[in-house]
Assembly symmetry: C2
Homo-oligomer: 207 residues x 2
DNA sequence: TGTACATCAGTGAACGCGCGTTCACTGATGTAC
DNA sequence: TGTACATCAGTGAACGCGCGTTCACTGATGTAC
């Protein structure tokens, strides 16, 4: 009901201002997450940085968890779009997967906490809504598609989709293995060339 | 200096009692970490569960961070021992790596938060001491050894240690990729057989 | 175009909670003669 | 074996901090006539 009103009035000055403030809150939330991790997300701290009092934010978000949920869903959608965009630029299935993987790494390195929010240790005391699980599954689609295409062009496979799905998951876990350890700083002082390692893992599944 | 005293008096009733209480604190700390993650570690909460007041714990630990450090170092040592023990039971290098990997998975699944404490998203506001980094590096030794042995038995390699090191890291990242996503619940509702997936990843590096 | 009214952003005080940590102190336990 | 003393575990009060959230209220902005 309220949503209906918000939609209808989406171009009114008040509605515009609302969306502006909401955007600013989200921006500050990301800053905060980037600095101290998702569990440090605090409405009071955001309000202080915005020069407002905390109760004012309750006009814009139902509470801390609702804000966190919105951030997570946004991040999933953003990542999915980036993945699809990167994939679309490729010609062959292999090329698509490679671009997708490199985009994923760039995305993750440019804002580690955003990646860790989605794929790292779950935020204590917060349970993701069902929508998040759905989005998390759906994000595999741009990975799956090139594998399906590759299998289809390669005759003789018994169950092309089954094979493609397995390879997709493997692709994902291998990239995540390198990325998450890199982001958490676990290669520190080990003299590992993470970029090369990542590239090796890309090739390991594609070839 | 204090350490010296503690050593000398290690069999006195008081010293025994001290170690007993310290152990109980650690046990409650692990319980707490298992339930709500490492960032929920709280001296006050531990004291309450032990039927004591919080300041009393300062007789046993310098503070929250010191306790956390001790837990992390203990976990590293425990994992290293488990890895070495498992490896020792194997005959061929391949066998050793396989046992090591399966032990790692069992260890991680039996107490997810303990694994995530070492290899998950860093605890916000806490920076691990240098010793932790050293231990984290040293834990690669039992992985590296079988690969070195395998390379040595396989003539023709240019730089056996270099190759072995690269394979060790790959082994590690691939296992971690599956494990960490499994522990964080990211395969939920995707119909993935994680055990089989893990086994596939073991074979991918060994074979 | 001006006036009356409704809407809504934002404030300030407050509640209850939990945290790490310090300090002066009590009382029990171990030690030296 | 008993007494005087030192050591040390643990308490209770307190400090200052930050958190999410509620509530009654003010004042500005938009809307309808």
């Amino acid at each position: 009901m309220e949503e209906r009103v918000a939609e209808r009035a989406s171009s009114s000055p008040r509605a515009r201002y609302r969306e502006q403030v909401r955007a600013e809150v989200r921006a500050h939330a990301w800053d905060q997450i980037a600095e101290a991790g998702a569990s440090a997300l605090s409405l009071k701290a955001i309000a202080k940085r915005m020069g407002m009092t905390a109760p004012a934010l309750y006009r814009y978000f139902d509470g801390r968890d609702e804000l966190l949920t919105e951030l997570i869903l946004t991040a999933y959608r953003e990542l999915a779009e980036a993945a699809e965009g990167a994939s679309a630029a490729g010609v062959t299935p292999q090329d698509r997967l490679r671009r997708l993987a490199l985009t994923l790494r760039r995305w993750a390195l440019s804002n580690p906490q955003r990646y860790l929010l989605l794929y790292g240790t779950p935020v204590p005391g917060y349970s993701a809504p069902p929508e998040a699980t759905v989005l998390a599954t759906r994000i595999l689609a741009p990975v799956l598609a090139p594998f399906v295409a590759a299998e289809a062009g390669d005759p003789g496979g018994d169950q092309p989709v089954g094979v493609a799905l397995r390879r997709s998951v493997t692709f994902w876990t291998r990239l995540h293995g390198v990325l998450s350890l890199e982001l958490a700083g676990h290669f520190a002082g080990m003299g590992v060339d993470t970029e090369e390692l990542y590239d090796q893992e890309i090739r390991s599944v594609i070839a």
